[in-house]
Structures are given as structure tokens and as C-alpha cells.
């Protein structure tokens, strides 16, 4: 499948020096909903800004719809919408004014959709943006992005500051964009991992500027398991480790670890361990994320260190 977004060896360092993004390779297929997750300062926002062409990379390159966004003209730009983390709508304009203004820049602009979303989301249409609440301003920015009917939608922490109802409505709005005939590719960064699990089909995990995992969500969930081995004796035997685990936690007769099971054979071998009982638990994305950044575990990598089988297909 054609990649809508690509990056090769993308690197950006800020003064300090602070390495924001380093050596990033990325291929996001058309129609994907790509969730970018990572701790604060991991480089998510910088990645989105690089993709949008708002800042220049130190080295490497990235393309959206086959174009370098720094050089792209209006024909390309009107197909790519971006909602920044910081709110940047002019406070003296109303959502209605903004719609009237945006309409001229986007050939697929959808006034009906803008009106419908504003009503659904209860965003005041005629009041100046500065008088709206933080959550409403964010919703206004997102509805403006959706009403442009973009082919690519980049959202930086879109749900920050939204209440549960507003978050659910935002997801529905996204789903609506995904249901269009033309199809929309979405990249969103978020800390709300439970929300992400509903809509994302690909996940990228960033850690200190590196994209350390880039994987289909379903594959990640189906192959990641918490394995717990309980020994009949009072202690875990000296030197015992769970096969395939990077690091194990030991407490008394119990040893546990998070393991990626790529083949059924692995599971069978684990279950047949003599003198011990083996429990295997599935994990949700939040558990996996927390385990990923468990520094006792020494951090891990599914892409750059061992060049494993995880890549977008």
C-alpha cells in the first residue's frame, strides 16, 4: 500500500543541545490512524511540526502525500490539516468568522459539516473565540480542521482539556472523517491511551527522540503477554529467566515478565515448564505502554536496536 507519510533518518536538535527527534524512519500507510505515544518531551510534537514543514530538519527528510511540506504549495496544503497543541485561533474572531475565512482556502470546505459539528459539540458559533472555554477553543480548532475535509489530519494532543463527553464526540468526529469516501489518514499524539485504543490501528512509541516501536496495534495486543511463573518451591531457582523476556521481576517464588510471543510454540514451551505453574495474561495498550517505560526494565526497543520484525505493513 502507498505510504501517505514517510520519513527517512529524520533528525532535529534544538539549542541546548536538546535532541528532539533522531534517526526517525516512518511509513504511515494511506487510511491509517496512527497514534503517537510517549512520555512528555519524547519528541511527539516536534515530529508533527517536522511533518507539517513548520520547522526544518537538521538532516533527513519527510514527505506528506509525496511532498516536502516546506516547499508545498496551496494545492497540497489544503489537503493537510494540523491542529497544534497550543491554541492559536485569533481571539477576536468567532467560529462563524473563521469558517467564512477558511472557506476560501480549502476547495473541499464543508460548511454543513462545520455547522453540524458546532451544534453537536455545543461550540458557540457566533461568540468571539477568546470568550470560549479552553475545551471549546480546542473543539473549534478541530472542527475547522475536519470541515476542510483533509486527506491527512495531524492532531497534537487533541483531547487535552476535554471532558469525557467532549472526548467521545471528538472521536466520533474523527470516525466521521474516516468514513468519507476519499478516506483520511490521521496521525495523533495523545496521552489518553484508552481513547487511542478505540480508533488507532497503528501505534508509534517515542522515547527520548527515537521511534522505538512502530507496529500495528492488533499485532501488538495479540503478541504481548504478561507471563508469571509460580514455582512450587519457596524461591525462584538461581539464574532462572523467562525465555524471550528482556527483564524479569522476582518476588519470592514468583517471577514475572512481559514477553512478546511471536509463535504458538513459545507459548506451549512456557506452559510445559516442570515444577512450576505458568499464568499468562493479555495486556491492554496502557499496560504495554507502562511496561515499556518501566526503567527498571532498562527500556526497550522494537525497531532500532534489534531491527526486529515490527514495521508498518
Amino acid at each position: 500500500m502507498a505510504s501517505t507519510i514517510t520519513a527517512r533518518d529524520l533528525t532535529k536538535t534544538f539549542k541546548g543541545p536538546v535532541v528532539a527527534v533522531t534517526g526517525m524512519d516512518l511509513d504511515i500507510p494511506e487510511g491509517a490512524v496512527f497514534g503517537l505515544i510517549g512520555r512528555n518531551g519524547a519528541g511527539k510534537t516536534t515530529t508533527l511540526r517536522l511533518l507539517m514543514g513548520l520547522i526544518r530538519p537538521d538532516s533527513g527528510c519527510c514527505q506528506v502525500l509525496g511532498n516536502d511540506m516546506i516547499a508545498a504549495g496551496s494545492q497540497v496544503r489544503q489537503k493537510v490539516a494540523y491542529v497544534a497543541q497550543s491554541l492559536q485561533l485569533p481571539g477576536w474572531m468567532s467560529v462563524e468568522d473563521l469558517c467564512r475565512c477558511h472557506r476560501h482556502y480549502y476547495s473541499l470546505w464543508d460548511d454543513d459539516l462545520a455547522g453540524r459539528l458546532a451544534r453537536q459539540w455545543e461550540v458557540p458559533y457566533a461568540r468571539p473565540v477568546s470568550q470560549l472555554s479552553g475545551g471549546q477553543q480546542r473543539q473549534a480548532a478541530i472542527l475547522l480542521a475536519l470541515a476542510a475535509r483533509p486527506r491527512v489530519l495531524l492532531l497534537d494532543e487533541p483531547a487535552a482539556g476535554l471532558d469525557l463527553v467532549a472526548r467521545r464526540e471528538l472521536l466520533s468526529g474523527l470516525v466521521d472523517a474516516l468514513c468519507q469516501e476519499e478516506g483520511c489518514t490521521v496521525v495523533l499524539s495523545t496521552h489518553l491511551i484508552g481513547d487511542l485504543e478505540r480508533v488507532a490501528d497503528h501505534i508509534g512509541i517515542m522515547d527520548r527522540g527515537r521511534l522505538t516501536a512502530c507496529v500495528r496495534l492488533e499485532e501488538l495486543l495479540q503478541t504481548t503477554r504478561r507471563v508469571q511463573v509460580v514455582f512450587d518451591q519457596s524461591e525462584v531457582p538461581e539464574g532462572f529467566t523467562i525465555p524471550g523476556a528482556r527483564s524479569c521481576h522476582v518476588r519470592g517464588p514468583v517471577i514475572s515478565a512481559v514477553v512478546r510471543l511471536t509463535e504458538a510454540e513459545q507459548l506451549r514451551r512456557l506452559r510445559e515448564m516442570p515444577g512450576a505453574r505458568v499464568n499468562i495474561f493479555s495486556m491492554n495498550l496502557e499496560d504495554i505502554f507502562l511496561d515499556w517505560f518501566d526503567r527498571d526494565g532498562g527500556g526497550r526497543s522494537m525497531v532500532s536496536d534489534d531491527q526486529e520484525d515490527f514495521s508498518l505493513s
Binding site: 487510511g31 468514513c179 485504543e197 480508533v199 488507532a200 490501528d201 492488533e218 495479540q222 491492554n284
Partner: protein, 146 residues
């Protein structure tokens, strides 16, 4: 009939599997019968705030298992063989829940005899309440949502 689906972010089960299980449950319990139309992909995606490809995947898998039929341009319908499948599905579902129960009992160190006794007591109580209360369904649903 309005179907209620619940997606549980804590379960660790992929969302499409959760959806499949719930549709199978509705078929097994008789809430959905052969020929009933399922919500459209768009409808379900929007009401549950789920990626439409997740719904497509669940529907395709269910069609593959012959629980539902996908009719070109018309939508998804409960399959003609669904009622035949339902007996087997019911047993499979119960078995899965029983396994979960067995695992947890074993982790708590509860003996097999005691487990069987507990189960029998609960079953008897539910059967006793069945005529007056809503019956087994809520219990089964609660079990499925685990």
C-alpha cells in the same frame, strides 16, 4: 431492536474480538435471530467511536464463521445457520467463562470440590430466581464483560 455494545479498554482483548463476542452472545441468547439486520459499519463506528476498519474486521470474521452474512450493498444480516451455530457457540462461551473462573480459583488456592459446590449453589439460586427476575442473561453478560 437497539443493540447495546460495550467496549472495555481494560480487557486486553482486541476491540474487534470484543465486538464479535457480543454479537455472538446476542445470537446465542436469541436476541438476534436469522435474517435480522445488523447496524451499518458507519452507524456502529460512530455510535461506539471506533475505527470503521475495526467494525469491518469484526463483520468479516463473523461472516467467515457464518454467524452473519454480508450482502452486497444491503448490509450485514444474521446468517441462516446462526441458530444452529448458537448451541455450539453457547457452549464455547460458557467454557471460556468457566476457564476464567477455574484459573482465578486456582490462583486463590480454592479446591476443585469447593469450586464445584460454589457454582452449583449459584446456579441453583439463579434458576430459582429465574421465574421472578430477569433470568440468566445479566449474569452471562456480566461474565462476558470481564
Amino acid at each position: 431492536m437497539a443493540l447495546h455494545f460495550q467496549i472495555d479498554g481494560q480487557s486486553g482483548l482486541p476491540v474487534y474480538r470484543q465486538l464479535m463476542d457480543q454479537i455472538k452472545y446476542y445470537v446465542a441468547s436469541g436476541a438476534l435471530v436469522s435474517g435480522d439486520q445488523l447496524p451499518s459499519i458507519r452507524e456502529l463506528a460512530q455510535s461506539l467511536a471506533l475505527n470503521p476498519t475495526t467494525i469491518v474486521k469484526a463483520y468479516n470474521e463473523l461472516a467467515h464463521e457464518r454467524v452473519i452474512e454480508l450482502r452486497q450493498g444491503k448490509g450485514a444480516f444474521v446468517g441462516a445457520q446462526a441458530s444452529m451455530l448458537s448451541a455450539r457457540e453457547r457452549e464455547k462461551m460458557l467454557r471460556r467463562m468457566a476457564r476464567q473462573l477455574a484459573v482465578e480459583a486456582s490462583q486463590m488456592g480454592i479446591e476443585m470440590g469447593r469450586l464445584a459446590q460454589l457454582l452449583e449453589e449459584e446456579a441453583r439460586e439463579v434458576q430459582g430466581n429465574r421465574s421472578s427476575a430477569e433470568g440468566l442473561a445479566p449474569v452471562v453478560v456480566a461474565g462476558l464483560k470481564r
